[in-house]
Structures are given as structure tokens and as C-alpha cells.
């Protein structure tokens, strides 16, 4: 029994719009700065392998703003609370980009309910020196340039506002506002996170679009993978920064292989 439309969930007083699909092993999907599109094909594909639980972070999608939630640290504790309140165990936590940063912060804090961790081109760490901008400044670049950096095929990602409803436009605007709330400063990272990533003790897979021009596999990905003991690192051909959007089948196959190894 799958619910096609998102529902609502309250976690320790914070209301979340939440999408749940599939049955079986819990898979917590933490979306990135692009938000959660309930019609994205990867969700149903992923739901063949377990129960996908996909909240919209406060301020994203239709989730209300939460006045006391304004950092990725808050989001990490919020989702650890979610796992506890639902009494979920052996959870596969998957996060993309901003969501990958949240997942990494959760794993550093407490991995006891985790079965595994999949980080999809996660942000959250500082790699270079203080004058190196590791992550392009999406707030200072023309929107087209941001799209070009984040998608292998920017034409497919281009939006035509005239074809979108007010509700869809509002979600896009809210997603950008919430991204600014969580990622403005320090910009898309926690200066301390890299130093603590050694605490990630569960099986971990890093997935990276081979054509990610936003944060490259060879620079940012290599630094991230190198900081997590025993993490596997794989790239997905034909995809940019959001491989689950550009190559959903290849993405879900990699996750499936990772899950199969966990059962063995």
C-alpha cells in the first residue's frame, strides 16, 4: 500500500510534510537544496527495495518554517528524533547534496539506528584553504550558471515558470529560501565536520555523478570519501550533481547493490 501524496508528521513539535512509499526496510531519504519532487522516478524505483520515508525539511516543499530550526545541526537532531519516535532500526539513510550533509551530521552524532549510509554528492565539509571557494556561490551566480554547474544536461533541468502552477512556483521559492536559511554561513559546510567524520562507523557508500561540475568527484568527493574510514566511493556516468534525477535507474541499482551487501 503506497501513499502517492505526501502526508504530515510531527517530530518533537516540528511539523513535516512527508512522503512514504513501499514496504520493508526503512530508507530515510534526505533531499537536497532542490527539494523533494514527489513525482521524481527514483522514489518509486527506490520503494521497490524498502519503505521510503522522505520528509521535506522545515521551510522546504510545504513543510512549515520552524522558528527554532535554523541550522543543519538542528536538522540532524530532528531526523535522529524521527528515527527514535518511529522506533526505526537498521535504517538506510540516503542524502543528496544538502541532504547528504544532514545525513553525515546524523551519522557523526549517533549511528545506532543506522543500517547503512549513502551520501550522494554530499556537501558539508571544507576542503581547500580559506581563499578557495570549494562550492560555487549559488547565491551570487546567475541562475542559468547554477543549473549548468549542477546538471550534466542543463536543458533538461531548465524550468519554464509559465507552465508551473502558483503552488509549484511557491515551492521553488520556499526551497531557495530554506536553502539560504541552512546553508548561508558558513557556506554549505560545517568547519568542524571533516574532523569528526572518522566517527562514521556504519557501512558507507559515496555516490557521485561523473559529470558533477558543482563539486567534482576528484576534488570534493575524494576529500569526503577519504575522511570516512572504509567508505566505498562510486561514480555514476551520465549524471551531474543530482544523479538520482539524471540517472535514476543507475542510481537505484547502486543503492540496491549496497543494500544486498548489507543483507549478506
Amino acid at each position: 500500500m503506497t501513499a502517492d501524496r505526501p502526508g504530515w508528521l510531527s517530530v518533537h513539535g516540528v511539523t513535516l510534510e512527508i512522503l512514504e512509499r513501499g514496504q520493508g526496510r526503512p530508507i530515510l531519504w534526505l533531499h537536497g537544496e532542490d527539494g523533494l519532487d514527489p513525482s521524481a522516478p527514483f522514489i518509486d524505483l527506490l520503494a521497490a527495495d524498502g519503505r521510503v520515508v522522505a520528509p521535506s525539511h522545515p521551510g522546504f516543499g510545504h513543510s512549515p518554517d520552524a522558528s527554532n530550526v535554523d541550522s543543519v545541526d538542528d536538522l540532524a537532531y530532528l531526523y535522529l528524533d524521527l528515527l527514535t519516535e518511529r522506533n526505526l532500526r537498521d535504517v538506510i539513510v540516503i542524502g543528496s547534496s544538502l541532504g547528504g550533509w544532514i545525513a553525515a551530521e546524523m551519522a557523526v552524532k549517533s549511528g545506532e539506528r543506522f543500517g547503512g549510509l549513502v551520501l550522494v554528492a554530499p556537501l558539508g565539509i571544507k576542503v581547500g584553504d580559506r581563499e578557495t571557494r570549494d562550492i560555487p556561490d549559488i547565491f551570487a551566480l546567475p541562475p542559468d550558471e547554477v543549473t549548468r554547474l549542477q546538471y550534466r544536461d542543463p536543458a533538461r533541468a531548465a524550468l519554464d515558470p509559465s507552465k508551473l502552477s502558483d503552488d509549484q512556483l511557491t515551492v521553488i521559492a520556499r526551497n531557495r529560501e530554506a536553502t539560504a536559511l541552512y546553508a548561508w554561513e558558513p557556506y554549505f559546510h560545517n568547519p568542524k565536520l571533516k574532523r569528526w567524520l572518522h566517527r562514521v562507523s556504519m557501512p558507507t557508500l559515496l555516490l557521485w555523478g561523473a559529470d558533477d561540475r558543482f563539486v567534482t568527484a576528484s576534488y570534493y568527493g575524494a576529500a569526503y570519501g577519504g575522511a570516512i574510514p572504509g567508505a566505498k566511493f562510486e561514480t555514476i556516468d551520465g549524471a551531474g550533481h543530482f544523479p538520482h534525477i539524471e540517472e535514476p535507474r543507475a542510481f537505484v541499482e547502486r543503492v540496491r547493490d549496497f543494500l544486498a551487501e548489507r543483507k549478506a
Binding site: A140, P142, P143, P161, L169, A173, R176, A180, L181, E185
Partner: protein, 379 residues
């Protein structure tokens, strides 16, 4: 009505607009010649002194990383004016406190200017324009909340005289606040706040501060002033006097309409040269979500369309520019005055771009001699 002379201290010698995509945030400062800049600083300070001699009050503002305004610290230029002037009220409008790291530092600087000028400071506290989010690196979300916490801290710093107090707020932390000097005026310098929206105006109205509108035209200004007055009615607070309301426009008075329009066209440099791409005009969270959605649909309010392609006629029709011969300018100001149920301060943007010193002074003189006496009668 009181009139205030203000100029943005622009650096007007810009490269060809084809050479750059933004006059703000990104324009390399190699285009700025400090030797010319020094001359400009002295010229603009001289013009403020002339304004005082003519009987006008003085207004200074502050902007960052932009050629449109070379006052990244209003306190510094007002420090010079506090020494160089004797009688004019000195308005800083304002300190962009939602973008400043240290409200206590703002409290100190403002107290210093207030003492230095023997109590002539009028202290504006503003949120800061969207383009300066980058310059301050402060996030554009929840700015109102940060603004009001900074305001509360500044007022408390000004009015506490018995040793350090503690402040551990949501946004600002100081365990030992005890500023020296304290302000000259009791309990503190008058506060002015800029409002663009009805919700902002309601908050200012509740507190009874002066609310200022910049280039908001007939309808925008009426909405803001109306919200201020309405909020006071709701709370059964005394009706606000006219001196609680300020309106800023581009103003040039000539001997003839033609001369006035010619001066105003030069002032329009400020709008014409304001080339800024959308990522800087609309950082996420700065504007209400509904306005962002409207902008995505291409439905910008008319006033913003006017900024994109400014022409004198429409700007005058909208009440953003008052220009012409003295009678014309008086009529235009009165039309705005009546439309918004009155205001007590006219903030005159009287210098911009290529309007030279003599032209700037002539515009001021014409205003003071021919228009101001009639406005002063409005109580």
C-alpha cells in the same frame, strides 16, 4: 515640514555599462580613482555644509560595495560633519543593523556622533538593501527578527547607565555591555526606521518612531503611512504627529520647468546606472515568498519596472521625482502630501551622477528660497 539634504556620495565616472554586469557587489574597485574620490568626498561635505548654511537639515546614508554610494560607514562621514556643522540636525538613515555583526559597535558610534554634535543626531536603523546581503555575508532569511533584536540591544546599550548588562539573545551575544560615551540626548537620539511594507510599518508605528519611505511613490507611501497610523489606532495609541512621517524623492528646483527637469534628469543617473542582476536584487528570503513568485511569473510591480527603464515623465507622475519651477515643485509635493494624509519630513535626494557642484547648490538655493517657506507652514 522639515527638509533634509542628502546625497549618496556616488562615484559617477563609471566604465561603459557593456563592460560590467553589476554596479553593485562585483564591480572591481580598480575603476575607482582614490584621488578623484578624495576630491568628491570634500565636495560632498562642502555641499552638506552649504545645505546647513541655507537652513536645511543634513542626511547621510550608508551603502556597501557599490559605486552608487561611497559611504560604507555613515558614522565616519557624520563624524566629520558633526565637527564641521553647528546647527543642522544630523540624520543617518541609516545603519543597516540586520547586516551588521555588532549592534553594540553601532550604539557606540551613534553615541559618539551624538555627543560630538552636542545632541544633533537623528539615528536611522534600517534593514539594509538586498544587494548588500553579499557585502555583509549575513543570511537574507529571518532578517526582521535579527533587525529587532539588534534594535533592542542598541536601545538598551544607550539607556543603561549603571554598569554592564548581559545579552545572550538568538543572534547577538555580549556579556558585558557598558558603552562609553553614552548619548548626549535623553533618553537617546530619535530613531528613524525605513519601511517598505505594511507589516514593517505596523511595527514602527507601534513604537512611535519616525517612519521613512524611499521612492515608494503615491500608492506605496500611502500604504506604509496608513499601516503605521492604523496600527496606532488598533492599539489605541495617540495619533501620530506629522513629524513621524518622512518621504524621500529626487528633487530639483529650477527657475523654469525646463531647468528643473534638466536637473532632475541628471539626478536620474542614480536610477539609470543601478544595473544589478537578479541574484543580487532578490536574495532568497529577502522579499516575501509571494513577491518572489510574482517576480518569477514576470509580474513585477510597476514601480520596479520604472526603475529598470527610468523616464522623467512617469517618475514624476508616480511621485518619485519632484521637479520643475518652484510652483510646479510645490504643487507636486503637496499632491503627495495630501495623497498620503501628510508627512513632516522631505528627504531631498539633491545630488547624483553628473549634477555638478554649482548645479547642486543652485537646486538647493532655489528650493530653500522659493519652495521651503511654503512647506514650513505645514504643521
Amino acid at each position: 515640514m522639515r527638509a533634509w539634504f542628502f546625497s549618496e556620495n556616488a562615484y559617477h565616472l563609471l566604465p561603459d555599462p557593456k563592460e560590467y554586469d553589476s554596479i553593485r557587489v562585483k564591480l572591481p574597485n580598480r575603476y575607482y580613482d582614490p584621488k578623484i574620490g578624495a576630491d568628491l568626498y570634500h565636495r560632498f561635505i562642502d555641499e552638506w555644509k552649504i545645505a546647513e548654511d541655507l537652513g536645511l537639515e543634513i542626511m547621510v546614508n550608508e551603502h556597501h560595495q557599490t559605486a552608487t554610494n561611497l559611504n560604507p560607514s555613515a558614522a565616519v562621514v557624520m563624524g566629520a560633519l558633526a565637527r564641521d556643522t553647528k546647527k543642522a540636525r544630523l540624520l543617518i538613515l541609516g545603519n543597516p543593523i540586520a547586516n551588521r555583526r555588532e549592534p553594540v559597535r553601532v550604539a557606540e558610534e551613534m553615541a559618539m556622533v551624538d555627543v560630538y554634535s552636542r545632541g544633533r543626531l537623528e539615528c536611522g536603523l534600517v534593514r539594509g538593501v538586498p544587494y548588500e546581503i553579499s557585502a555583509g555575508n549575513h543570511r537574507p532569511t529571518r532578517m526582521q527578527e535579527r533587525f529587532w533584536e539588534a534594535h533592542d540591544l542598541i536601545v538598551k546599550a544607550w539607556t543603561s547607565h549603571d554598569g554592564p548588562f548581559n545579552w545572550e539573545g538568538k543572534y547577538f551575544h555580549h556579556r558585558q555591555v557598558n558603552i562609553w560615551p553614552r548619548p548626549y540626548q535623553e533618553p537617546h537620539p530619535p530613531i528613524w526606521i525605513t519601511a517598505l511594507s505594511p507589516s514593517g510599518a505596523r511595527e514602527v508605528g507601534e513604537r512611535g518612531y519616525v517612519v521613512a519611505c524611499f521612492l515608494t511613490g503615491f500608492e506605496g507611501t500611502k500604504t506604509v503611512f496608513g499601516s503605521y497610523r492604523g496600527r496606532r489606532d488598533e492599539l489605541k495609541l495617540p495619533a501620530a504627529a506629522l513629524d513621524r512621517f518622512a518621504y524621500a524623492a529626487l528633487v530639483y528646483v529650477g527657475e523654469t520647468d525646463e531647468e528643473g527637469y534638466a536637473g532632475a534628469r541628471k539626478l536620474m543617473w542614480y536610477l539609470e546606472s543601478n544595473k544589478v542582476p537578479p541574484q543580487f536584487t532578490s536574495p532568497p528570503g529577502y522579499h516575501p515568498t509571494a513577491s518572489t513568485v510574482n517576480a518569477m511569473k514576470g509580474a513585477n510591480p510597476g514601480i520596479f519596472r520604472m526603475f529598470q527603464n527610468p523616464a522623467l515623465g512617469p517618475l514624476m507622475d508616480a511621485g518619485l521625482v519632484f521637479a520643475g519651477n518652484p510652483d510646479s515643485v510645490y504643487r507636486q509635493i503637496m499632491k503627495m502630501y495630501e495623497h498620503v494624509d501628510g508627512f513632516g519630513h522631505l528627504l531631498i535626494m539633491g545630488q547624483a551622477g553628473f549634477l555638478d557642484h554649482d548645479e547642486t547648490v543652485k537646486g538647493m538655493q532655489m528650493f530653500v528660497r522659493e519652495v521651503y517657506p511654503r512647506l514650513k507652514e505645514l504643521a
